[in-house]
């Protein structure tokens, strides 16, 4: 059977549907009037594009100071949460892979729950935990919350990688006189690295994008980029800066992903010995 015309039309429509807002984000970054969000003045005449929002970002103008602060806070939290959840997630995945038993099936269920539960439930339960422990909400509570849900994603990606892992390699290392630490750092870790990096990237994107959980545990005055933007949408004249900043982030991620594709494409994959 040849390709279906109808299916291809639906696909083209869906792609357009998915890309219209992205194109608008880029276009809105050049909008001249930040209050009415339009390219036209009150008489309906076209005013043209402006680069002033980009200038505001690069000169670190006072009017966008808190936006930039929230942006750096987001980057810090996402970076730290990724690091911590990579370490915790890898150890947890190793434990799940190596040991079987009732304790481990509880462990597996615990790790799996954040993947299927809606964000808002994780948010409210963490908030209740912090209230019960009478902790002041702020930077640390956000970090803890982010680590909580990032760990699950890292565990799942590392576990997927561990499924193809040949345990005989570790045994061979032991036979050749390696201690457990040496075997882990020089044999297992390099093999698991691609899984850990993939999980870490996933954790980073989820953490930097999270708004629901953060808005429960951020307390007063500590805003990450997404929560700041959502509070900004109600009253602000600097909205195009948000779009300009998002465009820059989009270009940055595209370049990063392109580079990583280029590097991984050039590397010859290690052949699995039989």
């Amino acid at each position: 059977m040849k390709r279906s015309l109808f299916a291809n039309i639906v696909l083209a429509f869906s792609l357009a549907f998915l890309y219209v807002p992205i194109i608008l984000v880029v276009v809105y970054g050049f909008i001249p009037n930040g209050i009415s969000m339009s390219f036209f003045d009150s008489k309906g005449e076209f005013i043209g594009f402006t680069a002033k929002w980009y200038r505001l970002i690069f000169t670190g103008d006072y009017s966008v100071k808190s936006l930039m602060q929230s942006f750096w806070l987001s980057l810090t939290i996402a970076g730290l949460a990724t690091l911590i959840s990579c370490v915790l997630g890898t150890t947890s995945a190793l434990a799940l892979h190596r040991f079987r038993g009732r304790l481990q099936s509880i462990h597996h269920a615990l790790v799996y729950t954040p993947l299927i539960m809606p964000d808002i439930l994780i948010g409210i339960s963490l908030l209740m935990l912090f209230v019960a422990a009478s902790v002041d909400c702020g930077f640390w509570t956000i970090l803890i919350a982010h680590v909580t849900f990032c760990v699950s994603y890292v565990v799942m990606t590392v576990l997927a990688r561990l499924q193809d892992f040949d345990d005989r390699i570790t045994e061979a290392a032991y036979d050749l006189g390696a201690g457990p630490w040496y075997a882990f750092f020089h044999v297992e870790l390099p093999i698991l690295m691609p899984g850990i990096i993939a999980g870490g990237l996933l954790a980073f994107t989820l953490s930097i994008d999270d708004v629901v959980i953060t808005s429960f545990v951020n307390g007063a005055g500590t805003n990450t980029f997404p929560t700041y933007v959502s509070s900004m949408t109600k009253h602000s004249r600097n909205l195009p800066t948000v779009f300009a900043l998002s465009t820059l982030m989009l270009i940055f991620t595209c370049v990063l992903v392109g580079l990583s594709k280029l590097i991984s494409g050039k590397q010859t994959p290690i052949k699995k010995g039989k």
């Binding site: 059977m1 539960m117 997404p226 991620t253």
Partner: protein
């Protein structure tokens, strides 16, 4: 227990029902769009598949809030989408008038907006249920396409050709051969859309206004604005139940499917054994 008694007050059942109904609508739209998309991608040459599948995930590299906000600007009362919405409302009212009376009553009872005259002032697309459904479909569509596509990639398309050779029309073959062949993917796509849709909070918050308050918004309102944690946690329990029910059904279904598959396999092996003897 007092908290639970308060929950029975007239507001809450309506909100829970609205949440379930809207999540259901979102899921149906996502699956309807995702099925042909996944089919089209899976039939492409290998090179193109990777590119298209990648470009479906690419929108995720922009912040979710920023994308929702771009939608909010697009749905502005003076924008072109508003005019599309009027056309949509007219068509819907027209279709509604065609339905027999008991179906009309049924839809009204379910909570879908009825027919009636269209008032341009009050029917803005922003702050309406339609906006929430539209943008939710937009944000969950990739989650629906991806599992169906992974299932469709493994599907043996020569089965469809065989069905055609045996005289099946292409849509019949699609429905009877393709969809059962990828049902595992469809089930996970439904879960991937339905569960976050029940828990969604940002989209109704930013686009639904006061016309579309879901459980998520209520929980946030109670927890952050009113600081009424018991109330919020009771609502959260309700939400958890409504999430766990579909998961339990899906798991039960999968177990049954596996059991049926195993039984069929046993029967087949038994038959071949008998044949060989």
């Amino acid at each position: 227990m007092d908290t639970w008694r308060e929950l029975v007050d007239p507001d809450y059942p309506a909100i829970v029902w609205n949440t379930l109904r809207i999540s259901f609508e979102i899921t149906v739209w996502c699956i309807l769009l995702a099925l042909p998309c996944a089919y089209a991608i899976a039939r492409m040459p290998q090179r193109w598949r990777a590119i298209i599948a990648g470009s479906i995930m690419l929108p995720f590299w922009t912040s979710f809030v920023v994308r929702v906000f771009a939608w909010k600007t697009m749905l502005h009362p003076e924008g072109w989408l508003q005019s599309c919405y009027f056309v949509f409302l007219r068509v819907r009212a027209w279709l509604f008038d065609w339905l027999p009376g008991f179906l009309q009553d049924f839809f009204v009872w379910l909570g879908f907006a009825g027919s009636g005259p269209i008032d341009p002032a009050s029917s803005t697309i922003l702050d309406s249920e339609a906006a929430v459904v539209l943008v939710s479909v937009y944000s969950f569509l990739p989650f629906a396409i991806m599992p169906i596509y992974t299932a469709a990639e493994k599907f043996d398309f020569s089965l469809l050709e065989a069905a055609r050779d045996l005289g099946a029309r292409s849509f019949y073959a699609f429905r009877k051969i393709f969809i059962p062949g990828i049902r595992q993917g469809v089930v996970s796509a439904i879960l991937m859309v339905f569960i976050p849709a029940i828990g969604s909070y940002v989209i109704p918050q930013m686009l639904g206004g006061t016309n579309c308050v879901l459980i998520g918004n209520k929980i946030f309102m109670r927890a952050i604005q009113n600081r009424n944690i018991p109330h919020a946690s009771a609502l959260a329990t309700l939400m958890a139940v409504s999430v766990l029910v579909p998961i339990a059904i899906a798991m039960w279904w999968k177990k049954r499917q596996d059991a049926i598959g195993r039984k069929r396999l046993e029967e087949q092996t038994a038959r071949t054994m008998v044949g060989r003897v």
